[in-house]
Chain length 530, copies 2
């Protein structure tokens, strides 16, 4: 065991690229000052990220894991039926034989905190895990009646805000002025409440069929139920961070409607709604690429939204969310066990299904408070106790899907296979536990390997997570139809909408125009050291 990581298997090309991109900040600054050069570098780096692996469509989906299929051949349905979740690598039945893998429950030790101590992120505020959970929840949606399937629209379409289908969207719309239904509490705008009679668990008639409440929701006490908002998906009320971002979108949508109505007085409700929605999707997309992705990379280069650059790329294919992408984005460990709320240290569990906490603080104060405290570091030995079973369920799903090994995925991503445990992490405890549980690095499972790798310096992520996130994130975000050649224009978004898109650069911009107006400037950032 060693407490220094052996970097001999990081790969020369990988090391070189990271070195170049994380040094010479002056050079990068200069290069980016030239718009055309900046676009060229942007294109090259994004293409490099995506082309690290073969591109969609892939021959297999989780459909071939259904009983009756032996799993290792392509069929028409596995090529076309996107209700089954996609996958990058074919199933590996030999690797996933029971006697080849540790018992599931024995792996809990890898995620459980040491002496209950949380390891905080050096880079990210608590806004980071909140944001990630919220935005990925819109498209990474396991079907809980059959975990091989999903209920995703496979696009960033803000389903948490607008619902998964037209029927739900209709229920959420005011059908006046293009707006979403809302209510004013303490002078601030929120979605309407969902329950007509919280005691009896009766949902308002207007929201009947909006979604099927989760068991966690049905078990809530009436006081909490009373404050649940009517929003797009069954998980939208799950945690105050999630609700905070959804409420922000609701306000921005309705604000955009007023703005559009002011400029285009002949527009009807439908046109106002549809155009505001399109603008808002683009605003969030811009924040994802230009603020969030730039936060997670350790690079001196800032990615930009420049969809025209990619129309001729062979990765520009119909989206299909993969199981690997879903597992790569389970950053349970990023959520600290406790948080500071209005000056008090409280348990994160208290923030679940608890909208009163948002209402009491208001949007601005809650954003600032969230950004004044650190998120936790993504990795082993750092998962809150109430999420340990979720980590194990993720590993179990990987086994059900017969995922290939951690080392196979490294190879797919053009990282050399590791040959020893100290090439994965410098943490002697992690090395020891991995060795005890798996014996051989080639036996480490994908999910465990992902989170066992050390986070890179000044990054929010480990190398393999970083690479896999980049592949699916870029290749499935930039394919959004709103950014397509004949659609990404002023005509689609309206001249004033187009202007709003150009002039909105950060989440902070979005927050500040959707809170009761004062001169106060709130801090809204993913960065601890801003």
């Amino acid at each position: 065991m060693s407490n220094k990581r052996d970097t001999s298997r990081d790969g020369f090309k990988n090391k070189l690229q990271t070195f170049a991109l994380t040094n010479f900040s002056g050079v990068w600054k200069l290069l980016q000052s030239n718009d055309s050069l900046k676009r060229k570098i942007n294109k090259t780096l994004i293409n490099n990220a995506i082309y690290a692996v073969p591109t969609r469509p892939y021959p297999f989906s989780l459909m071939t894991m259904e009983p009756g299929f032996s799993g290792n051949y392509t069929c028409w349905d596995s090529l076309t039926d996107r209700t089954y979740t996609g996958r990058h690598l074919p199933p590996d039945p030999a690797f996933n034989q029971d006697d080849n893998l540790p018992k599931l429950e024995d792996l809990a030790v890898l995620f459980r905190k040491k002496d209950g101590q949380t390891i905080y992120s050096e880079k990210s505020t608590q806004l980071f895990p909140y944001w990630v959970q919220w935005f990925t929840d819109g498209f990474l949606r396991t079907d809980h009646t059959n975990k091989l399937k999903n209920t995703s629209n496979h696009h960033i379409d803000l389903s948490p805000v607008y619902g998964l289908n037209r029927k739900s969207t209709d229920m959420l719309r005011a059908h006046q002025g293009g707006k979403l239904k809302s209510q004013i509490i303490n002078g601030e705008e929120y979605p309407p409440f969902f329950y007509a009679n919280p005691e009896k668990g009766e949902i308002k008639a207007e929201f009947d069929g909006l979604y099927t409440p989760l068991n966690d929701e049905t078990r809530l006490d009436p006081a909490k139920k009373a404050k649940l908002f009517a929003m797009g998906v069954e998980r939208a009320n799950v945690q105050i961070g999630y609700v905070m971002l959804n409420v922000l979108c609701l306000r921005e949508h309705n604000r955009l409607c007023d703005l559009l109505a002011k400029h285009y007085s002949d527009w009807d409700d439908e046109r106002l709604f549809q155009t505001a929605r399109n603008i808002l999707i683009l605003l969030i997309m811009k924040i994802i690429v230009e603020e969030y992705i730039n936060h997670i990379t350790p690079y001196h280069f800032d990615f930009i939204v420049d969809p025209a650059a990619f129309t001729n790329e062979k990765w520009y294919r119909q989206n299909w969310m993969t199981l690997e992408f879903s597992l790569v984005y389970r950053w349970h460990s990023a959520l600290p066990e406790t948080l500071n709320y209005n000056g008090e240290q409280i348990s994160m569990a208290e923030t679940l299904w608890n909208n009163q906490m948002l209402i009491d603080r208001g949007l601005a104060a809650l954003f600032e408070e969230t950004c004044s405290q650190p998120g936790a570091r993504i990795g082993l030995f750092n998962t809150a106790e109430f999420l340990i079973h979720t980590e194990l369920a993720s590993i179990e799903l990987g086994r059900k899907a017969q995922l290939a090994s951690y080392n196979d995925y490294r190879e797919m991503c053009q990282f050399p296979r590791v040959t020893d445990f100290d090439q994965i992490t410098a943490n002697p405890d992690a090395q020891r536990e991995l060795k005890r549980l798996y014996g051989d690095v080639d036996k480490i499972e994908f999910y465990v390997g992902l989170y066992a790798e050390d986070v890179r310096e000044n990054s929010a992520l480990s190398p393999l997570i970083g690479r896999l996130v980049g592949i699916d994130a870029f290749s499935q975000a930039l394919t959004n139809p709103l950014m397509a050649e004949n659609i990404f224009n002023e005509q689609t978004f309206s001249p004033i909408g187009w202007e709003v898109i150009q002039n909105t650069n950060t989440l902070s911009d979005l927050v500040h125009r959707n809170i009761p107006q004062t001169d106060k400037k709130y801090t809204v950032t993913f960065y601890r050291n801003h």
Copy 2:
């Protein structure tokens, strides 16, 4: 009125291209003898064809024609919901105002035969309209409960053979040896019959829910019902030509299963079925591009299936069948009113829902007989009486969708707008009737203009139909997932399947290996003068 066509508005570039491709046959032969050059020309010509118009995704679908939408703005659903049919050009409400267009019933005269005379095709046999109806019916599927919508899978997936969804496919499968259910009649293989009790109209329990029978089917007399086959879609029994091609596919599928089982003795039913299906889809795709498309063009160059050439094209986008594509493919006039059946001249209407006619003749004889007689020419004054109402319904749908004018579509396709009626057709009757009905060439509707144009020399199609067919056909066939970079290989189709694909070049190959074996060589061709 003139009986010569004024070619001044054909467009110089268009004329030049046609001239080059329809002359110099020796040069074209030489060029095609070099494989690499042939592939380069293939790529260039196909790209030219597709890039004649803007590429998918398009901002609008027929969804925006639903009540409540004013039609002329993009919304998220019109960008994503493929149950609504796509469209190339946005709606044009002004053009489609009632007082701007002739009365629908007045247009019947344009399609009705002059003195009942059929104009035969100089190029195509009757196999041509049979083939076109059969293969396009797999993906151009108007939803008859709402004509703005469709029930298409938007792919060439042989739904007439395999059904539109997994439930239907399961009903059609024998679940043994990978095969489709079948029966032997007169020593030849056919699908099983659909009805348990034709008198009472009772469908066999095993096929309950396979599809909802059309009104035309439910009204049939019991003798005809008794002979209907259980096949993939509600229209599969509609006409003997359609049934003939479906039966051919059934036999080839089951033949492929035997072949695969012989080579891969450990394969189970599922793997045999799925692989045979994938192979058969590719075989039909090959015949579409290399036999059918080469038949419809007047060129000396023969297109080939070479999917690898197109991975970086910006037209390589998710398929979405358009209304224009559907209208461009309504070749009702290609079907003669009468046909020769076993030495007798009979009415085409007799061949509807009449499988006994196929059973009596057998597959080989019916194919040969079909190929020994001409199809009819596509164009005005040539539609069988029983299909006149279908022509008018197509125009009506165009109006409901507020399609732009014929001249607008010419412009979209890079043809100069016509300025006089004699630029469309040399037929004085057609010129006269168009002038009487529309007054102004700018008022001619899309559907009418399509079929009013004269068929080009040695072509099966008019110029605008030819161009529009090329755009959607190439850009939506070559995107089939089975031809994608990581899927179009021996591993997907198996080594023996791959060999079958390489060695099958014509429909004739397919027919001859699926009929009772004799030394006789039957004629199976789209060409009258073979």
